[in-house]
Amino acid sequence: MNKLIPIAVLFAAGALASAAAQSSSGVLKTHAASAAPQMLVGAHKSHGAEAPPAALEGLPRFRFENFTTANGLPDNHVYAVLVDGDRIWAGTENGLGLYENGKWKTYTTSDGLAHRAVLSLALDKRTGDVWAGTMGGLSRVSGGRIDSYTQLNSGLSNDVVYGVTVEGENVWVATAAGGCRLDLHSGQWTLYNERNTPMNEIWVYAVSASPAKVYYAVWGSGILEYDQKTGRWDKYDDPDGENEMVLFKDQGLIHEIVTSVSFVDNILWAATYFGGSRYDGRYWHNFLTKDSGLPSNFINTIKGLDANRAWFGTDKGLAYYDGVNWAVYRPSLTTGKAEMTVRDAKGNVTPVVVATAPAHNYVLGIDFKGDDIWVATAKGLSHGIRQP
């Protein structure tokens, strides 16, 4: 495992840069966001004279409108997106953007934001407060006021905050030096690291919390599970250990380098840089490009909708899995043109003609507004408007 870390670090550190380089090479030029959101209609057409594939029925189709700096987005590198009623928050490399009533407003360090680069976002649905994990601390946006917590002024374990979520009175945080929890009632910070959990590495990328369980995605140390009732920790590792080959595909977590977790309906969805996993508490099911509709095994983010359906944000496009079939939305990797492909249970892949695609195929964040999807990419923010 250790020998892999430098490679993976390079992936992580250089991901945005490579994505940007890819786009600057012109491959994606067609789909770089224009000054105004693309207002295209007719998202889906049947493929020539062929009837739409059966798998397409039930798979969502979207018309994507893309936002960039040209129409007010603070920066084109968008790490995270959060839907908050009619408001959309975008965590970018150069500020926290708020899209409201058709206009963007940008919050920066001069407004109290901990750092200009916003890596993660979470909504406290009860209070409406938004929590922003940044490269320089954790910020709380409440009624327009921003309070920031750093490793110097608070109990926060580290200023690089990759992930954040709110559950009840607790804010759970994933940082470059372990996980931590802020109790909003008492103000107490509790840190989780190699000293008090079975965490081998402390580079924690994401967190997902429910009243019963909390899951940390640890970069190089699998998944940590915290039982809120007992206070006990459990750990899920790749049964293949440090072997990059998948010897036992569905016998455990697909890989130790976990980038994202999503716990919904008692199902744990996990993303790694080497495939995806689904765990129902007893059985694991893993997803690889070779035997699923995943466009890439390099998965940045995952969002479970329920026990059977999930969205995957990869370096090669946005993917949806409905429990049987897959759909991929992206600018073509070769032509840059918008494309959607559908893969059915038998492995048949059918292209679907579409006119729009997410702003970029390097997807870092996903959130939903009703049937619509919002996608954070390395080259803009995309609003997928569900089509009938």
């Binding site: 209070t127 409406g128 409440s142 109990g155 374990s157 509790t190 840190l191």
Partner: protein, 636 residues
């Protein structure tokens, strides 16, 4: 010279007198649940009229009860015991329930106004200070001063739904007349972001937190620039005019320059459709300040606005149409504040009605003809005839008539009568006998020199010497010559007054620690922190010199060995780096920290301001260990 010598001898005599009588003053007649020796006084803090105007409810903070009076005859109908140190109350819209916040036991008493009995007691957040029910009777909102939030409760069961982030020291609530918006004010300023070189030199800033009552979320925050503490909020009946009473300290100039423009402006911020953008207006007059405004009420016909002035012992009457004319006729300053214009109030203040000691809450009758004012430190209710602008009668509440030394000391603490132009009293900076969260330039030793953080007074007994530099050997010196000479710039205390003031301060009870309930065991994190606090060896096995251990300087029950140390926090603007080890009493509440308030949080004491390990050996600690140490300190 002779006069000076005589004055000096008098002060010395006063000091000895005070010391001599301390033991006698501390004999309790009957202990109150808050630890005070003064249980028999009622100390009316707030008043309320029933919707039909037939009853007057009086919240008596010291006797910890609600007294129900007939609003016409003023006869007592019933006295209802509530929880510890009640601070705020309100009626449900229908008037059938009275809610009382008990600030020291963190509960809410629910009183059935039909039976006049407590029918429920619900736990709430830390130091609940006021409560409001929404129009639909669905939710209760409770302002929690220590946790600085507004708790949202189910109005029928008391179950807490959530807490909304307030400003610092969330204390007073008011619902807009249409019931759509709830406004919360705060008695301490928000902690300002750290700015290099300006850590201890910022003007305070507070806010009015605006809550969407239907959704129970924070909808907006109205900034109150320059304001350290804000108190009661009121609305006109049509909802077009809102007002909040507030203190606006001038902390960037030496406090001792009282005669050169004052240490405070006492102001109102008025807002709403009638005003346009919010604007701050002073209540002070050129040579007569309105020290410590607290309660506000607007006449039903919006002709007058009444403000209780706690330190000036009066009610200020503002002519609302004239105030509006002033606001609209004068170019609004860029800051939105007229606070510095001492001639402004002459345009709209039409009367100052003398009332009793430390007037606080007030209530207007539905026809606006009578105004009831609670005189907290006199156990009376002034009944003001609003047409004549004079006190028509005074309701004396049942209780001791004699003024005890502690009571007299408290009156002295709260009155501004001793200071130049009646500008300030001890309570201007020690809000409700605590602190104000403001850093001050106290001494006349040059602008910007020796900036000091204001400190908590609770538990100050037996922690001499006083001042950060330990310059005052005892409380009579601290409260007498120092205060008279440097701050008041006016009348000196007589011997008895100084003695009583120091007795009051020495007897000030300490509120319950919210991080460690009495008798309860410490949490594992607190225990680990305690071990770090008392450790004599660092993590590398090296002995920590005695003077560099937490438990050496911060020893004893109050966390101070009362000696002076150099802990590496001296700034270029400090005259000396030698500082008294600060007591740790209620340390969790009193940010900012260090002598000059440069550390905004406990963490910053060590993460930012202890680079050489002079303020305790801490550089060997991991982040989680430092967190443990802080968890322990919060129990002190």
């Amino acid at each position: 010279m002779r006069v000076g010598l005589a004055a000096g001898l008098a002060m010395l005599a006063a000091a000895f007198f005070a010391i001599a009588i301390w033991p006698a003053m501390q004999r309790p007649a009957r202990a109150a649940s808050n630890g005070s020796d003064e249980a028999d006084y009622a100390s009316p803090l707030e008043v309320l009229l029933s919707p039909d105007g037939a009853r007057l409810y009086v919240l008596c903070q010291q006797s910890e009860e609600i007294r129900v009076l007939d609003a016409a005859s003023y006869a007592v109908i019933k006295t209802i015991a509530v929880g510890r140190v009640p601070r705020g109350f309100s009626l449900s819209p229908s008037g059938d329930r009275l809610f009382v916040t008990n600030s020291w036991d963190d509960t809410l008493s629910v009183i059935d106004t039909g039976t006049l009995a407590v029918v429920a007691t619900w736990p709430v957040g830390a130091e609940p200070s006021s409560v409001v029910e929404d129009r639909g009777g669905k939710r209760l909102f409770v302002a929690n001063r220590i946790s600085s939030d507004v708790a949202v409760l189910d109005a029928q069961t008391g179950a807490e739904e959530k807490r909304l982030l307030g400003g610092r020291g969330t204390s007073y609530l008011a619902l807009s007349p249409d019931g759509s918006r709830l406004y919360a004010s705060h008695v301490y300023p928000n902690i300002s972001p750290r700015r290099a070189g300006m850590e201890n030199r910022t003007a305070p800033e507070s806010e009015l937190t605006v809550i969407d009552a239907a959704r129970a979320v924070v909808a907006d925050r109205m900034k109150l620039d320059g304001v350290a503490g804000a108190f009661h909020i009121a609305f006109s009946a049509d909802g077009r005019l809102g007002v909040v009473a507030e203190y606006h300290p001038k902390n960037l100039i030496p406090l001792a320059h009282l005669e050169h423009g004052g240490a405070f402006a006492y102001t109102l911020t008025v807002f709403g459709a009638e005003v346009g953008g919010a604007v701050e207006v002073p209540l002070d007059e050129l040579e007569r300040y309105a020290s410590q405004p607290f309660g506000v009420a607007i006449a039903p016909d919006k002709s007058r606005l009444y403000v209780t002035i706690g330190g000036s012992e009066c009610v200020v009457v503002v002519d609302v149409p004239r105030l509006m004319r002033f606001i609209h006729a004068h170019p609004r300053p860029a800051t939105g504040s007229f606070a510095q214009e001492l001639s402004a109030s002459g345009n709209y203040v039409v009367a100052r009605i003398p009332v009793g000691h430390n007037p606080r809450g007030l209530a207007l009758t539905a026809d606006g003809r009578k105004l009831f004012v609670a005189n907290r430190l006199e156990d009376t209710i002034s009944v003001i005839d609003t047409r004549a602008n004079r006190v028509a009668s005074t309701i004396a509440l049942t209780g001791p008539k004699a003024i005890s030394p502690v009571r007299h000391g408290e009156q002295t603490f709260y009155t501004a009568r001793y200071s130049f132009q009646g500008q300030i009293s001890c309570s201007s900076c020690h809000i409700d006998s605590t602190f104000d969260g403001v850093t001050w330039d106290l001494e006349p030793d040059g602008f910007g020199r020796d900036i000091v953080d204001n400190k908590m007074l609770e538990g100050v007994k037996d922690t001499e010497p006083y001042k950060w530099n330990g310059g005052n050997p005892n409380l009579p010196t601290e409260c007498g010559p120092r205060t008279e000479k440097y701050f008041w710039r006016a009348e000196q205390y007589d011997n008895r007054t100084l003695a009583d003031l120091t007795v009051y301060i020495r007897n000030m009870p300490t509120r319950p620690n919210r991080w460690r309930a009495a008798g309860s065991e410490m949490t594992p994190a607190q225990e680990r922190g305690r071990a770090l606090f008392v450790r004599a060896v660092d993590k590398f096995g090296k002995p920590i010199p005695e003077a560099n251990r937490c438990s050496y300087c911060h020893s004893g029950p109050k966390g101070t060995n009362q000696k002076l140390f150099e802990v590496g926090t001296r700034k270029a603007t400090d005259n000396s780096g030698l500082l008294k080890s600060a007591p740790l009493t209620e340390i969790a509440l009193t940010a900012p920290y260090l002598h000059d308030g440069s550390a905004r949080t406990l963490e910053e004491i060590w993460t930012v301001y202890n680079p050489e390990d002079k303020h305790g050996r801490t550089s060997d600690l991991t982040k989680d260990e430092l967190n443990d140490l802080i968890e322990y300190l919060r129990t002190r």
